[in-house]
Amino acid sequence: MHELYLAESILNIIQDYAKRDGFKKVNSVMLSYGRFSCMEPKALQFAFEVQAAGTAAEGAVLEFKIMPAVIHCFSCEKDLEIKTHTGICPGCGGGEVMLTAGTEELQILEMDVD
């Protein structure tokens, strides 16, 4: 349910920029987040659509750049991308690993506007 709050925050940022740059319509918004940052893009798009109604962002599509989750393994000394975190190196099976990327918080990167 945090998507509602996030959608509201995205809209507030868009409104700040609309005031500054004077654009009337937002076509798309490019966002990024780490794979493990507990984001649900479909829920966010839905929450965004509901709240964007009647604003410059009505009908805008949210696009997502999902940053990979990476672990460093202290056994094989490799950095490997992972889909789920099990605490085990998918390369060598070593148990001493550390998550080095993947929990980056939600950011707005750019908007396409008219």
Binding site: M1, H2, S37, C38, H85, L109, E110, D112, V113, D114
Partner: protein, 218 residues
């Protein structure tokens, strides 16, 4: 036309949290943000912590729940200033809710503020409130797969209390896996094995917390 933004979506919340932090610093208030799933034992830990530290520090509590004042009533029985935030469906406490709760306290009479977040392993980890540290609880009946399933909270927390350790003989909880996977997310995570029911392991937690509070107040 493309407009470059590059801005954290939670920027507005971060700013309010920073303002809360300034206020806490001015009054020398050490703040912990306590997070876990529902039923992991947050309120029991708050009660235990209050009893252990109340002679040394002036303590206050903010209780966050979707509705009801059950938790705040438990704390009020200990004769500690407490404010209940009802998020009315919201899944977490954010910076603004804390800001709005603070006028209910006399901040000049608080050394240590405990914020008990809404029971949820996802959203609370994302929202800063102006705390010194985030602390999380994981109880043994929940299972050792939680660090893998909810990595953000484990990564954001400074300490993890594995609670209900007294239930280990009855639940299939792989303690070593839980510890290993948690440390793989956050190598400096301080882990305590405790039972808020029997008080096992709580002395270490209280000692760690005391060191933190004293270092901050110096």
């Amino acid at each position: 036309m493309k407009v470059t933004v590059v801005k954290n979506v939670l920027d507005a919340n971060d700013r309010i949290a920073a303002e809360n932090r300034e206020l806490f610093d001015r009054h020398k208030i050490y703040v912990i943000n306590l997070m876990s799933s529902p039923g992991a034992g947050k309120t029991s830990l708050v009660e235990r912590t209050i009893v252990a530290l109340r002679d040394n520090y002036r303590i206050a509590v903010i209780e966050g729940d979707i509705q009801d004042t059950y938790d705040a009533d438990r704390i009020a029985k200990l004769d500690i200033p407490v404010v209940q935030i009802n998020t009315g469906g919201g899944c977490h406490i954010d910076g603004n809710m804390i800001r709005e709760a603070l006028p209910a306290f006399d901040l000049s009479k608080i050394d240590f503020l405990i914020v008990e977040n809404v029971g949820n392993l996802v959203c609370p980890a994302e929202f800063k409130i102006g705390e010194n540290v985030k602390i999380m609880l994981l109880s043994t009946p929940e299972g050792a797969d939680k660090p893998s399933k909810y990595p953000l909270m484990f990564q954001e927390s400074s300490a993890l209390l594995i609670n209900k350790i007294d239930l280990m003989p009855y639940v299939d909880f792989d303690l070593e896996k839980a510890k290993r996977d948690s440390l793989a997310l956050h190598k400096d995570l301080k882990i305590f094995e405790v039972s808020c029911k029997t008080a096992a392991g709580l002395d270490e937690w209280i000692a760690w917390l005391t060191r933190r509070i004293d270092a901050f107040k110096k």
